[in-house]
Point group: C2
Chain length 220, copies 2
DNA sequence: ATTAAAATTTAAGTATGCTTAAATATGTGC
DNA sequence: GCACATATTTAAGCATACTTAAATTTTAAT
């Protein structure tokens, strides 16, 4: 009972981790509830249970914070998730929008033993197909990457795409149609804040991209 | 709610299927309980729930029987199980005793979409590494195989090993040490019923094999 | 500083999948 | 056919992970 975590717990901890390691960093129970598609009441409930298990620091009405034990679990599940995404993409040729959903299930059904085999088979990759770092077996996560969403990038500066953070089919349709991949060079030419659009130049073309979509495109 | 089955339900249905398709064919609730490592009370409980869902025919004190819907689910989960075993063995080189435990988890975390990819990748194999038939996508299972446990094989008749039905490490150690694989020829020379041993000749050697171990070795 | 809106927690209840203990039915030996 | 051992079911209860509805706190607007 001490060592095993349920699927619900793994997903909950992972959701906190996701929002903790973000610019906005909003880890209120409501955010987590929305992320997981459960009610606020259920999220509060789980937060208290995980606080009792020393996985989460919880004070009423405050943001949820992972304890070292919680963070360790989160990173471990993220490692499983990203290794599966890499595997599904490389070995079965699943497309970028398909891998996330499958990895979301497989991450909870993978022993540490099997995880090692997957990692070895892939040559211990450091990044998943989205460009996100794969935590090491020891739990280290590449944080040096000074990536930022292209929404916040400087004008008239040459960048390269380093992450495509989405699991939406339409998003990747758009990327493919415009030859936007990891490594593709681009420059932001102009911003239209009212309509929330950016004018970007890439592959000798000019594109108008809405902030909502640009959000998922990280550059460095 | 109609279409999704929990892990507990999938394992329960699969356990009934396993014992239904056996010589002894004992599918009393106690047998299933022991197979799954739960109490008899829990098994009875589940049997009644599944009867309400039309997956199992259940009459008090009688054997559990799968309905067509139950059998369909069982075969589908078995397909997932055996494809994963095949995949783990062929792609990651997991040994015979390791594949079962991993497949037992992965079978519940695999979409039909992913299952197709796995099957395709392997060239739609018909048998898993144990020699058990892999049900087709349409739910057909190769039943023609006139295999029987070597315990019941005739004396002085040449057979070939067609199944090695175990997930025990020692069992496969023994098999490997004596070059017993799928396809290996053997002849039963003598039976010692009191000590429950068989004398078998294979690979120009004579072996004394206990019934308990021989049970898992099927020949044809 | 009030007050209304929004977010969060509490309370009560449900479904699932288990447990232990007691009651009941089945089956075997004689 | 009876009695006892064995198997199965019933009953009561528990943990997990949710729900809806009501109460409470925070926050943001005026
Ligand atoms: Mn993902
Ligand atoms: Mn998940
Ligand atoms: Mn198996
Ligand atoms: Mn299983």
């Amino acid at each position: 009972m001490a060592n095993y975590s349920s699927i619900a717990v793994e997903n909950f901890i992972k959701a906190i981790y996701k929002y903790e390691s973000r610019d906005g960093a909003d880890t209120k129970s409501g955010t987590i509830a929305t992320e997981l598609g459960i009610t606020h009441a259920a999220a509060t409930d789980m937060a208290r249970k995980l606080a009792a298990k020393n996985m989460v620091d919880y004070e009423k009405y405050k943001e949820l914070k992972l304890t070292p034990a919680g963070k360790k679990l989160a990173v471990h599940v993220v490692r499983k998730h990203r290794l599966w995404e890499t595997f599904l993409h490389q070995v079965f040729g699943l497309s970028m929008h398909e891998i996330h959903k499958e990895a979301e299930l497989l991450e909870h059904a993978t022993s540490d033993f099997l995880l090692d085999k997957i990692s070895e088979y892939l040559g211990n990759p450091q990044f998943d197909p989205h460009g996100d770092p794969i935590p090491t077996k020891e739990g280290k996560v590449e944080t040096s990457q000074a990536s930022l969403s292209m929404v916040y990038a400087e004008l008239n500066t040459s960048y390269k795409i380093c992450r495509l953070r989405s699991s939406d089919e339409e998003f990747f349709d758009f990327c493919q149609a415009n030859d936007m991949r990891l490594g593709t060079a681009l420059t932001i030419k102009k911003r239209y804040p009212k309509t929330r659009m950016l004018e970007a130049e890439l592959n000798h073309k000019t594109l108008l991209i809405h902030y909502d979509l640009a959000q998922a495109i990280h550059v460095e």
